[in-house]
């Protein structure tokens, strides 16, 4: 895919994830302690070969958008930038025996359930831990924060898995 098409596709994905999250998903709550950070799908399902700097900028952009809507200053942005920074490390950790193919993408059908589970689990846990600890600013209420992290982790992971199963075909990644 040429670069102009790539830019338009990413802008479209950004708009869709933001609209769905701000309009609808952000109001969902699991047991009063879990939220669905659906917009992480925008960052998690970016192409594998995208330069790190571009990923960081995109993470900062979408995080700041969420901060503007939910009055959190730079909280979403900080956690999202951390996620984008850790993502290449996790990808390196999970490299298949013969390296990534050119047409590989983050796709549960292509990479297998085990690869996808580890990838999603590690990154979402890192993001949620950073997010909720930063939000608290300290380690008070440790039990409550842990419950929030785990409940949100379950919610976000299941939602992103559903996104994968619904919108990603066997052949190539989209959405």
């Amino acid at each position: 895919m040429n670069s102009v098409g790539q830019i338009i596709l990413q802008l479209l994905r950004y708009a869709v994830y933001t609209a769905v999250y701000v309009g609808f998903v952000s109001r969902l709550e699991l047991f009063g302690a879990g939220w669905c950070f659906l917009y992480l799908g925008f960052l998690l399902f970016l192409p594998l070969a995208m330069p790190v700097v571009v990923q960081l900028l995109l993470a900062f952009g979408i995080g700041l958008t969420m901060d503007i809507f939910f009055d959190t200053g730079g909280l979403h942005a900080a956690a999202a930038v951390l996620l984008a920074f850790v993502r290449p490390w996790v990808l390196r950790l999970l490299t298949p025996r013969d390296g990534y193919d050119l047409q590989d993408s983050v796709n549960v059908h292509q990479m297998g359930a085990q690869w996808f589970a580890v990838y999603l689990g590690l990154l979402v846990i890192v993001h949620h831990t950073a997010f909720f600890v930063l939000e608290l600013g300290s380690f008070r209420h440790f039990g409550l924060t842990l419950v929030k992290i785990l409940a949100s982790f379950a919610f976000t992971s299941v939602a992103l898995l559903i996104v994968q199963l619904l919108f990603f075909s066997q052949r190539s990644g989209r959405g």
Partner: protein
């Protein structure tokens, strides 16, 4: 020089990461202070429009519930308007039944015991002036809010066009809600009572003891009342109202009732848990309250050296 560029290129990811993370954390930390102008919040016009459109859709799912609550509030307000003029009075003596042996069946009278502060209850019941043409009570709609984060905010659909400025108090039918933080032409962001930096000067209506209310950050239904001395006697169900000491809220506005209190071994004060009067889960209509004398009072207190500057008022 080329080595430097090679170095910069090699570690560009790390450098950009550090830079962006620093910017994000700076924005996050400064967003908590009251008087730092915050641009990146939902009071700006675009975010406000999106949130208002969302609220217009979501409104339809709770119309019946909102109408019921507004009716209840209207009924309460009407009762205050048409209060009989004997409402504040109290009999100075009560009638007792005749003595069993008294054949004349004479009714006896006994004076009621004098209450310790005969007029504080009436003062605390002071109605908020809603018809004052110069400083009106501005009705507003909550178009977005959180209640489960550590620092919670509300977005209201009123702004400078309606006479709202930063620092004003926000109240609802149930009691105190929060305080305006930043304003644009048609939207305002308010820090909720459920915010780690919000404190409200409060007092117990029964005996007038003044304390300070803050939210510990875990439970949206309860807050803590600090600085009630241990020698004070408390009772479950005591009413907690605003003290009127900080010129944000008028004196005597309902905040909540005492739910639980206990002594801690190493403190001189009670640990009092207050059940909040406002149900933040179902908050939809609020009022922004003006305090006509606030500016004058702040000036006087600044001149007297009680406050460092007029801008630096503690929340």
């Amino acid at each position: 020089m080329s080595n430097l560029f090679a170095f910069l290129f090699r570690f560009s990811g790390l450098l950009i990461f550090g830079l962006l993370e620093a910017v994000a954390l700076y924005l996050y930390i400064t967003s908590n202070s009251y008087h730092r102008a915050a641009f990146f919040n939902s009071a700006n016009a675009y975010a406000g429009q999106v949130l208002e459109r969302r609220m217009q859709v979501l409104d339809y799912f709770s119309l019946a519930e909102q109408n019921r609550r507004l009716l209840a509030e209207n009924a309460l307000l009407r009762q205050q308007i048409f209060r009989p003029d004997t409402a504040g009075r109290e009999a100075d003596s009560v009638a007792l039944p005749p003595l069993p042996g008294d054949t004349l069946h004479r009714v006896r009278y006994r004076r009621t015991a004098a209450r310790p502060r005969p007029d504080t209850l009436l003062l605390a019941r002071r109605p908020v002036p809603s018809h004052d043409p110069v400083y009106p009570l501005v009705p507003a709609r909550v178009i977005s809010q959180t209640q489960r984060a550590v620092d919670n905010y509300l977005t209201l659909n009123v702004g400078t066009a309606d006479g709202v400025v930063p620092g004003l108090g926000v109240i609802a039918a149930g009691g105190v809600v929060g305080r305006i933080k930043s304003v644009s032409a048609h939207y305002a962001t308010a820090t909720s009572l459920l915010h780690s930096k919000t404190t409200v000067s409060a007092k117990l209506r029964r005996d007038g003891t003044v304390g300070s209310l803050h939210w510990p950050g875990d439970d949206p239904l309860h807050a803590l009342l600090d600085y009630i001395p241990r020698q004070n006697r408390l009772a479950r169900g005591d009413t907690v109202v605003t003290s009127g000491y900080n010129a944000i809220f008028p004196d005597g506005l309902f905040i909540g009732v005492v739910d639980d209190f206990r002594k801690e071994a190493d403190k001189n004060f009670w640990t009092v848990r207050v059940r909040l009067g406002v149900d933040f889960n179902r908050l939809s209509h609020v009022y922004v309250v003006h305090m006509p004398t606030k500016a004058e009072r702040d000036t006087v207190e600044a001149h007297a050296g009680l406050k460092p500057t007029a801008e630096d008022v503690a929340p």
